[in-house]
Symmetry: C2
């Protein structure tokens, strides 16, 4: 059995006190290593609780030939939120940490930023001050770091960052902060001929460079928030430019819209962790036949973070209230999961 990883709690608290002012921003986001499944039990990191039984029971019912709940393979669509569902999201969305890093990298080309908020504060190391500007400040940071280059250039930037950047609290690669039980679940569904998609509020092009390696979910099965892109012939080459204009926010009521746009079928199973996933779960479990909705509840302050109704990141309030009536399964991380992170050796 893997050892339990403990967070350095003081560091975490210091980070949180500096950063919890962050507004819940629906366009930021993040991964791990493909889960190896032990023979005989596809979900070895799940305790044998009612939660695990609910998952297994659903999968068995929809995959068993002759079952009244049987669903043909082509219709076994499962959608997964990313931040807080497949990987962690504290002390802030990892995509925002990426954006802050990129501001520092780009600063030498922008001497004017010294006197321009939120960049001035950020470059002085005052993250709290920089983010005190709320969503407009964050939008500014995201746009200067996420647009103005080709899609191929942005892919390279993300790939370089994800390969080396370390989480400010744990000091580990972001791809080592993926939840091992969820990796097992993704693999278990795939083994049962489910078609797995990510449906995240995070940037679609921020996820695609690494989701196949980490989750086994390829670029064409990633749905997310996006900026507009523009086709151009540049120096004789056909390229797509990333424009500083929002295209789509894949969060809240946007998730069913994104699902329909990209997949064109109503999922039969959906996995989330916050109020931003509520409409995805309503849309999924509102269809006819057997359906499954699941919320990951962050209850483990020792091994991860404990937060829900009052968190500025991954707020879980209305969806938690709705869960019992809607028949959604709620994961109690502390009691349902043996292991939390995939990257813990």
């Amino acid at each position: 059995m893997k050892p339990t990883y403990k967070f350095p709690r003081l560091d975490r608290r210091a980070m949180l006190s500096a950063l919890t002012l962050l507004p819940a921003l629906p366009m930021l986001l993040p991964v791990s290593a493909t889960g190896q499944i032990a023979a005989g039990d596809s979900l070895p990191s799940w305790n044998d609780t009612a939660t695990k039984k609910a998952v297994v029971s659903f999968v068995e019912r929809v995959t068993k030939q002759g079952s009244p709940d049987f669903v043909p393979q082509a219709e076994r669509i499962a959608t997964f939120d990313n931040d807080g569902t497949l990987w962690a999201e504290q002390p802030m969305y990892f995509q925002l940490l990426f954006a802050l890093y990129r501001v520092k990298v780009l600063a030498p080309q922008h001497p004017e930023w010294a006197n321009e908020e939120p960049f001035g504060s950020l470059l002085k190391g005052d993250v709290k001050g920089a983010l005190a500007g709320g969503e407009p400040a964050i939008a500014k940071i995201v746009m200067v770091t996420h647009t103005g280059m080709t899609d191929a250039e942005f892919e390279q930037i993300v790939s370089d960052w994800i390969a080396t950047a370390k989480h400010p609290v744990t000091g580990r690669l972001y791809t080592e902060m993926v939840y091992q039980p969820m990796l097992e679940l993704v693999a278990y569904l795939r083994a049962n001929s489910f078609n797995n998609f990510i449906v995240s509020g995070g940037g679609i092009e921020f996820m695609r460079p690494w989701t196949d390696k980490v989750y086994g979910i390829p670029p064409e099965k990633v749905v997310g928030s996006s900026v507009k892109t523009k086709f151009e012939i540049r120096d004789g080459k056909a390229v797509l430019l990333r424009m500083p204009e929002l295209n789509f926010i894949d969060d809240g009521p946007g998730k069913p819209v994104g699902i329909n746009a990209h997949i064109g079928r109503r999922p039969i199973a959906a996995f989330g962790n916050s109020d931003g996933d509520m409409q995805m779960l309503q849309y999924t479990t509102g269809g006819a036949g057997a359906r499954f909705g699941l919320l990951v509840h962050h209850t483990d302050a020792e091994r991860e973070w404990a937060y829900d109704r009052k968190s500025s990141v991954g707020k879980l309030d209305k969806a938690l209230d709705a869960a019992p009536g809607a028949g959604w399964t709620v994961v109690d991380m502390k009691n349902d999961w043996k292991t939390i992170f995939s990257g813990v050796k």
Copy 2:
């Protein structure tokens, strides 16, 4: 060998003279039966010309282990335009014929249409007069027939129409007006582990109800033009409403944008027939490594239609000029294809 199907030429001319005033509208579109592949030759409806050889040579080069042009399976993305590439598009885009039909069905609920253009002319049988209003008139027709219902309701409307509606010139089901050689090509690529997508100017939700049955391309691999949708809880049920607002035009420079949004990888092969496909071919063949671009040139006035530079539907002018320099293969339908339509028994 299948008998050659001959069009009733006078009927066709009559239709064309009434309808060629149609502006090239980038949001209208359409299918067949899954091609059965003869053993020993995956492309039996293709004559043994340089065109067929170019297709086969490309596929062999990218699929052969150890070949300098080898492409891993996951990256074998192929994109197909629909109108004029996979099925016919004369005398007008089939989706527009669907819209005109729906106006008639809906008319009893709209007595005011009698005095409102373009509906008044349309209901009097004056299609030419109705469409003389150009794009605004067509947009009006499309919006009243394509929006205001849930996505599930629209899917049912399209499914009912495609199962029974007949083409005004040939009198055949629209799904029998798919090109047999292209069905074979789609199946041939699939057999070689290509991941086939439709990338069409037509409506994404107009295509999805039938593309799997006809081309073997499921809903999640269909990219097209779209209207905005909105998530709602209606009578306690989670639904998506189709709104009378354009969301995306998947045509011309929009095709690379749509490809990137939905697939997230640059295709290695792209198939089109008009100037609206030019940027898709530029984007596809502009990537590194072995690439393939193909244009279907409608040259067969006896068995189908002959049109290119001056056609209001499926205009092929700039892309035809660009083909030799870009290394794109051009299908001469008359000489390269033994059979045209899949539905001819």
